[in-house]
Amino acid sequence: MTRGQKALRYGVLLGFFLLLAGPLLWQLSLSLKGAGDDLYAQPPQLVPSDPTLGNYSDVLDRVPVLRYVANSGLVALMVVGGNVIGATLAGYALARMKFRFRGLVTGLFVVALLVPIESIIIAQFLLVRSSGLADTLLGVALPTCVAALNVLLMRNAFQAIPPELEEAARVDGAGVWRRFWYICAPQVRGVMTVVAIFSFVGAWNDFLWPLIVLSSEENYTLTLGLNRLRGTFFSDPRLIAAGTIIALAPIIAVFALLQRYFFRGLQAGGIKG
């Protein structure tokens, strides 16, 4: 790349950065504003005139954040585990195994993708309740444990693997499990990471479903717990903003950690110039 091209590339990247990440700064600023700041000032102020970290300690005082984080973490772990394992296995079967009804089963996952969740949420709750899982974290995790979307993503990823690769192993006498585990799965690690991130974010941010399933406060996930900051007779946007930042931090951390795995496959073939 020439210098000019490089400058252009980073210029564009920076522009997108401001556009996409800028609004988060507003939330950050709100969470740092003190009692002396007029939140509704016109025009809005980005830099707090009375900055404080008090809102964060207030949040930690008011709600048992650690406990909620632990609960959310547990749900996220189950959902991420379920999706990565379940969707990878199913995706492999749909993409690379031959069996009767394969088209039909693929069709079922596509149908599931189209089902409007709003119309089935009560029925889902009755199912979870009748299996005795109401008010448990497992009940929160179970219905989203394998999402149809992720199955289709994995199927697409497995389809991209050249057939020669697996055929060679097959000729060498490798069984289906060995072919899956040693040949194909390593090839789709990038997409598995994507599935992990998507399901983590989904589980971490979900509000309505955990609300319906859970009733004891000790089981609350973070989104539910932070809703406590909005009282009926008082509501401080600064606290809510601080709560949001606390809730966002783990997702940003998870993404920042995992994003380099997209490049496993790429690096194996050499770094792009």
Partner: protein, 313 residues
């Protein structure tokens, strides 16, 4: 791990011929074992409840009262429901306008941030931020920007481009357009990630060959990257069509939890939400709306698949 040199690095998703010539023969139940967890969850928690929705759609059930069979009455009522027609128009427009952008723009973004290095990693993370923000915050931010007295209008007035504030959040079409903007804004990072994962599978040799031929970055993008992720593009087209038709959050938050001025911005999902949740839910009627939505989406997808298959031949 060594990868054999390939003639054709990313084959189109063709079905393998029946009856492989392999030495080992897989047991007939092996695929079902692989499918069991996913199929179990999806059938139990998605498909089975949806069968229930199908059954409800021909009854006059409400949340608290089981209904009686009323045939196609709900569907007749839908046909006459002004709000349903508005919702259909809005949702279909959403698909038409948003999907092409969602297929193309994230790919460009992905190509820009693809590669090693800390700085690019930082940008990748930053671009993903809108995806993880809860829709409430997203709504708050954008209503602040697009409000009649918001930043965008202030700037427009300052530049003397307009005299009266522009009703980004009150005019029927502008509101819909604003919501599309927010959808694209928050979806870019999401689809970018899928593209990034797909691009990792493109064979580096192809890039090298293109470079030898004297292709610049733009040519390499058009001739190697774009064709290399074609099956992913198709998948993203599918996902984003479903998401766009089912749009809810963006319109909901931009209109402050209403369906827009006089309900003119209501989408099909919002209508299902309005009729089908809460204590006074008309689950039968909401079920009928869900069924129609399902059929329309199915048609949309069938059309897309047909189009792609035709293109491949």
């Amino acid at each position: 791990m060594s990868t054999p040199t390939l003639v054709k690095p990313v084959p189109p998703p063709t079905r393998q011929g029946r009856g492989g010539v392999g030495r080992t023969h897989d047991r007939w139940w092996a695929p079902w074992l692989f499918l069991a967890p996913a199929l179990g969850i999806v059938v139990t928690f998605i498909l089975f409840p949806f069968v229930n929705t199908l059954a409800l759609s021909v009854t006059d059930a409400t949340l608290l009262k089981p209904g009686h069979f009323i045939g196609v009455d709900n569907f007749v009522r839908l046909w006459d429901d002004e709000r349903f027609r508005t919702a259909m128009t809005n949702s279909l427009l959403y698909v038409v306008c948003v999907v092409p952008v969602m297929v193309a723009a994230p790919l460009v973004l992905a190509a820009l941030v693809n590669g090693g290095g800390r700085l690019l990693g930082f940008f990748r993370t930053a671009y993903y931020l809108p995806v993880i923000m809860s829709s409430v915050i997203v709504g708050l931010i954008w209503t602040n920007l697009l409000d009649q007295r918001g930043l965008v209008n202030e700037v427009l007035r300052w530049l003397s481009l307009v005299n009266e504030p522009v009703g980004f959040l009150s005019d029927r079409w502008l509101t819909l357009f604003s919501a599309m903007l927010v959808t694209i804004w928050s979806g870019l990072g999401y689809y970018m990630v899928i593209y990034l994962a797909a691009m990792a599978n493109i064979d580096q040799d192809l890039y090298d060959a293109a470079s030898v031929d004297g292709a610049g970055p733009v040519r390499r993008f058009l001739n190697v990257t774009a064709p290399g992720v074609r099956s992913t593009s198709a998948l993203i087209g599918l996902f984003s069509s479903v998401a766009a038709f089912r749009v809810f959050g963006e319109v909901y938050v931009l209109t402050g939890g209403t369906g827009g001025l006089g309900g003119q911005n209501v989408t099909v999902t919002m209508l299902i939400q309005q009729e089908g949740t809460g204590l006074q839910a008309e689950t039968g009627y909401a079920g009928a709306i869900s069924v129609v939505m399902f059929v329309v989406l199915g048609g949309l997808l069938a059309g897309q698949l047909w189009y792609q298959n035709r293109g491949e031949r």
